[in-house]
Amino acid sequence: MTHPVSRRAIAMAAAAFLGSFAAAQAQETVFYSTQLRPIEEASKVRDVLLKGIPGKVTYIVDEPPAFAVRMKAETQAGKRTVDVVGALHGELQPHVPADLQPIDDLVAKVADRGIPANLMDLGKLGTGQQQYIPWMQATYVMVASKQALQYLPAGADVNTLTYEQLLQWAKNVADKTGQRRLGFPAGPTGLMSRFFQGYFYPSFTGGVVTTFKSADAEAGWNTMKELWAVSNPNSTNYNFMQEPLMAGEVWIAWDHIARVKEALTTQPDQFVAFPAPAGPKGRGYMPVIAGLAIPKDAPNRTGAVAVIEHMTKPETQLLTAAEVGFFPVVKADLPPNLPPGVKLLAGAVAATQGAKDALVSLLPVGLGAKGGEFNKVYTDAFQRIVLRNEPVKGVLESQAKTLEALMKDTNAPCWAPDKPSQGACPVQ
């Protein structure tokens, strides 16, 4: 007698279990992101930042290349499994228009958040419709060990540093300590290409594409060669500058705030953070924007909209800054109780944006899937001029041809700081 009863009980329990599973599946929202990937940050997203959204949100992360492949594969297979995606401006760009749906209806829904119009416009990715809603922002800063400060050239202030002073500073450090201790993230997954596009070129030439092979650019590359001579030769192995900074291998470094954050949060009393240097044309800097978008045929659009609405609320935005160190896209004053490391970063970011000579370099729009090859133009120029010591002029001439072909191919118009263009951005 006990057998049939227990069997029925098992069957009922199984049915109840499967039923609840199906119900949970029905209202589950899958949030797929290339940002906030490290386990500590992902846990913060799951346990803190996503709290308060009705229904279950599953936060999953992936490396950018895997993200690109999955988005395309799901479109080709006609089976979408993710509802909302979070990724950088440049990572979302190749997925327009095939993999993302326009979300103009959300613009009104988040209108009261106070997202600046120029940021909102970036979310159109060069099309007529909204493709993503800005989510969080970051930028790049310099970080130096306090041990290096004694070698600053006379009269130099880290907050108003120039490339000439940076060079002298790194020379002093190399001369006095016998080690080349300036560092760049020029490793395989380092963000060196962003240094050239957002910092080096705007500061030296006032442009990114149009001035690629100008005389100013030539002068800039010669300075770059001098900088390299006092940089740690392991720079071509560095992907995240926080590691060599913490190891003491590098004393002065430039990198994305998320890639130096660990050094600053674990040893806030050992480091200073400050804006990138200025060149003859100004203090070039590049914002990093991460956006939230909804893929085509997302199974749970309502859930996706709820996630976007929640993540752009001012209180969530401030919580994001405090927990993971990415800064708000909305107008909101940062709370005073930020962790000391994040406070250092916030100070450097504010000093960058508020610098008198600040020259903002916007994110490229309209390059589509060619973003990777656009980066390659700059890193190839670096490899040939600086690492292989090829003549500057000849390299710039031949790389300019590649750049020009790329621009014509994608028909991408110029973006700041280059002057607006009719049609493809020309290389002068």
């Binding site: 290349p65 190749p94 392991n234 071509t236 190891a247 990777g372 090859e373």
Partner: protein, 283 residues
């Protein structure tokens, strides 16, 4: 009975054929197709971009250099180790087990282990510093020390992949009947002559398998190089990875993949011809 036996082998082999067909042949054809397609229609654009790239020549040179240096060293080492192991009376299994430990380590893990030895703050520098041989950390793996970097990669590759050659050669040695060697000994042949005239020729089929396997793997070398040198030491598989992931140009990445396959096939064909064994020469 004959009807029964005739289909059984096919049925048994069918799952693996289907498996290979679905997960190897189909992607292979797709990759070849991808490498020849650009925009609309077929073209050689991807191959032209690959050949015109600044790292292409370097990647070819480095990959061949690594193969030419590493594979012969590994074969010699494995031959020596296999001969010694087969002479052991006691503890043979234990020695073999220890020698084959690197086989169980993934190549990326092996690369990272060697990185912790050779990097600036690694064990090698710590040891040299403690001995007073260097004044401070010395970079061995940077783009400015290509030969030290090459040597590091060779060392790591030899450590990691000699065991696979060893295992194949030991299996081959066990197939050679002892009588040949004993007979030669009676006739006064020295150990070297016996090795050269009996062991080596009879080991040819195993050597062929080991060489094919190791050479093909050497042309695909990636994880160890990537862990130790990043892109300071471009190799073919690394360039394929970069074109796929960093430059996001899947066509050029596919062209690299096809090139690696062509080189591997050519090497295999050379070995099959050069080390051909006539049936009467088999042990």
């Amino acid at each position: 009975m004959t009807a029964r036996t005739s289909w059984i082998p096919y049925a048994l082999i069918a799952p693996s054929v289907l498996f290979l067909g679905a997960l190897f042949i189909v992607p292979l054809v797709q990759t070849i197709w991808l490498s020849f397609s650009a925009g609309e229609g077929l073209s050689l654009v991807n191959y032209q971009r690959m050949a015109g790239d600044l790292n292409f020549g370097l990647a070819i040179r480095n990959t061949f250099l690594l193969t030419v240096v590493v594979v012969p060293l590994q074969v010699v080492l494995a031959l020596a180790m296999a001969t010694m192991v087969s002479k052991l009376e006691k503890g043979r299994d234990l020695v073999l087990w220890v020698l084959t430990i690197p086989l169980g380590v993934s190549d990326l893990a092996a690369g990272l282990a060697w990185l912790s030895l050779l990097q600036n703050t690694g064990y090698l520098n710590s040891a040299l510093y403690a001995l007073g041989l260097i004044p401070g950390p010395v970079g061995w793996l940077s783009q400015e020390t290509p030969w030290a970097l090459f040597f590091g990669i060779v060392l790591a590759e030899i450590w990691r992949a000699t065991a696979i050659v060893l295992v194949i050669l030991i299996a081959g040695l066990q197939l050679i009947p002892k009588e040949f060697s004993e007979a030669a000994e009676i006739f006064g042949a020295s150990p070297w002559t016996r090795f050269r005239r009996i062991t080596l020729p009879l080991l040819k089929p195993s050597l062929q398998s080991a060489l094919i396997l190791r050479t093909v793997l050497a042309f695909e070398v990636f994880a160890v190089v990537y862990a130790l040198g990043g892109r300071n030491f471009p190799v073919l598989a690394g360039e394929a990875y970069t074109w796929q992931n960093e430059n996001q140009n899947y066509g050029v990445a596919a062209a690299y993949a096809v090139l690696i396959m062509a080189i591997s096939l050519a090497a295999t064909a050379v070995y099959l011809r050069a080390l051909r064994t006539r049936p009467e020469q088999l042990p």
